[in-house]
């Protein structure tokens, strides 16, 4: 009972947040609504006993991706009025696309519930069941190839990003910490014998 109640609470906040993302005038508010939406979906996953995915969603999307996203949005000087110009113009098309997507998803769900016997409410996992452990054990066995390839995609993304953005500017002053640390007293300090009263060469 409590779980159902929680589900509806989270789900309704999620929908409100999702609507807020597209309806709010200020892009920063939109981004913050998106954060809320991510958080609520994580809560829904928690209810489905997918705690690893839920926590990782919060960790990666809320904790890192959206922070950087907010960075950019906050620093951009977005003309809100101009952004809203196309709103009514594209609304009918958007509604049609939304309707089509809803119909498609509904159809697939209906289809599965009709034809295939295996779609039933899953049993709650037994005590001591660790979602994380289970995921880890398939990620590193059955899906290890795809997992490694995904890491290659990430490596490639890094290489591509650096290729496109890094340029060596001439005259850049760089601090070499290793050199700074390796400095001896003799490199910096020179003791000069100073005979009081006579002139010294420096």
């Amino acid at each position: 009972m409590v779980t159902t109640l929680l589900f509806y609470a989270f789900a309704s906040v999620l929908i409100i947040a999702a609507v807020g993302v597209i309806a709010s005038k200020n892009p920063v508010h939109s981004a913050l609504f998106l954060v809320l939406a991510f958080f609520e979906s994580a809560m829904l996953w928690l209810l489905m006993e997918a705690e690893f995915l839920a926590v990782v969603l919060v960790l990666v999307y809320v904790g890192a991706v959206m922070v950087l996203f907010l960075f950019v949005v906050m620093m951009l000087d977005i003309n809100v009025e101009r952004m809203r110009d196309g709103y009514t113009r594209y609304l009918p098309l958007g509604l049609v696309v939304a309707l089509v997507v809803i119909l498609e998803i509904g159809h697939v769900i209906w289809y599965r519930s009709q034809n295939l016997p295996f779609l039933t409410v899953p049993e709650p996992n037994p005590e001591g069941y660790s979602n994380t452990r289970e995921l880890g054990s398939v990620l590193y066995t059955e899906y290890v190839y795809a997992f490694e390839l995904a890491s290659v995609v990430l490596l490639l993304a890094i290489v591509a990003a650096i290729t496109l953005t890094m340029r060596k500017r001439p005259g850049l002053k760089v601090q070499d910490v290793a050199k700074q640390v390796a400095v001896n007293r003799d490199d910096r300090v020179r003791l000069v014998k100073d005979d009081a009263g006579t002139e010294t060469e420096t």
Binding site: V2, V28, L32, V35, E51, F52, V55, V56, V58, L59, V62, G63, A64, V67, L68, L70, F71, M74, M75, S130, N131, T132, Q175, V177
Partner: protein, 358 residues
């Protein structure tokens, strides 16, 4: 502590609430049992900070309110409560007030999974370590929103600095925790502490994971925007950073969140690397069975106090890092160190060296 909880459990049982409400009431009492001491600890941590830094700098520190200034934190709190909260013009009022609450929420919520002794933890969940990571990463929103909603350049600059810093150091911190996870074999914080239970101090993870401990603790300093990584507040450059526009208790909440986070870092350091509530004198003949040789919350508090002292010590000792140096340290030093050590640890696990010898 356990006895107390049991007693409360039975007391509430007398009323005869339904099971669900019974659970809610009991958990609420546990939360109060954690948070009230925490808030008091924060209050006296600020007092300790001023005193200790005072002595380090050859001053006396607060000594007017109460005996040796002991009532100073309460005076400060009272002052903040009574002050007016000024909302800057053109600020976004809802977000402006949401920000300190978000900070506080993130700072307090993590304590739900922190085990204080073998049987006392509010929520003994399996994915505790992930929960800690996720919640600490939420804290940055308080900072960002505060900086943006204040409609002030100083606040915004401070927020940007601090957010970039937090995100950068979170990665090194997360990797350090991966090492702990490998050593502990579990994501549950209590299980991680229990995995360090050995014959003596040598079972603590700080020995095999020493580089990770260093990275974790220093990242903890950076993560909480403490000196020497406090460019986000940078008094000399941007006045006070993201909370420059906050006054009264709204500022007080940020303050509370920051110090609660610092105490949290010390608690987590103790749990992950220093055997949590384990006694350092366990296994020494003659001390076994006595209070000193026994694991208890007392030992956890002592260890936490030591690391809290280190926080203050660092603040009093080191000059502030420049911003690019902070980033360099996080990305170019800590990150490679953690990755290398995780690889080393992997080899140690595979070769059954160290605590992994079965």
């Amino acid at each position: 502590m356990t006895a107390l909880i049991d007693l409360l459990d039975r007391l509430i049982g007398v009323i005869g609430l339904p099971e669900f409400l019974h659970y809610v009431v009991l958990t609420s009492i546990k939360i109060v049992l954690v948070l009230v001491p925490l808030i008091i600890a924060v209050a006296y941590f600020t007092y300790a900070e001023r005193k200790i830094i005072g002595y380090i700098q050859n001053r006396l520190g607060p000594n007017r309110v109460g005996w040796y200034g002991l009532l100073q934190p309460f005076a400060d709190t009272l002052k903040m409560l009574l002050k007016e909260i000024v909302v800057p013009s053109n600020a976004s009022p809802f977000l402006f007030f949401l920000a300190p609450l978000l900070s506080l929420m993130a700072a307090f919520a993590v304590w739900a999974v922190v085990p204080f002794s073998e049987n006392f933890v509010i929520a003994d969940i399996d994915a505790g370590l992930l929960y800690v990571l996720a919640l600490t990463s939420m804290g940055v929103y308080g900072v960002i929103i505060a900086g943006w909603a204040s409609n002030s350049k100083y606040a915004f600059l401070g927020a940007m600095r601090s957010a970039a810093q937090i995100v950068a150091y979170e990665i090194a911190m997360g990797f350090a925790l991966v090492g702990v996870l490998m050593a502990g074999g579990s994501l549950n914080l209590s299980a991680i502490v229990l995995a360090q239970e050995g014959t003596s101090v040598l079972g603590w993870f700080v020995w095999p994971l020493f580089p990770l401990f260093m990275v974790y603790f220093i990242s903890g300093l950076a993560e909480t925007n403490r000196a020497p990584f406090d460019v986000a507040e940078g008094e000399s450059e941007i006045v006070a950073g993201f909370h420059v526009e906050y006054s009264g208790i709204a500022f007080g909440l940020f303050f509370l969140a920051e110090y609660a986070n610092m105490i949290l870092i010390t608690a987590l350091t103790v749990i992950f690397f220093f055997g949590g509530w384990m006694s350092p004198f366990a296994g020494i003949p003659g001390l076994d069975g006595t209070f000193i040789g026994q694991s208890s919350f007392f030992w956890m508090a002592i260890k936490m106090a030591f690391f809290m002292f280190c926080f203050l010590w660092a603040r009093a000792t080191f000059p502030r890092y420049r911003y690019d140096q902070i980033m360099r340290l996080g990305w170019k030093v800590f990150l490679p160190v953690t990755i290398v050590w995780i690889a080393v640890e992997g080899v140690m696990v595979a070769a059954q060296i160290g605590p992994w010898a079965a």
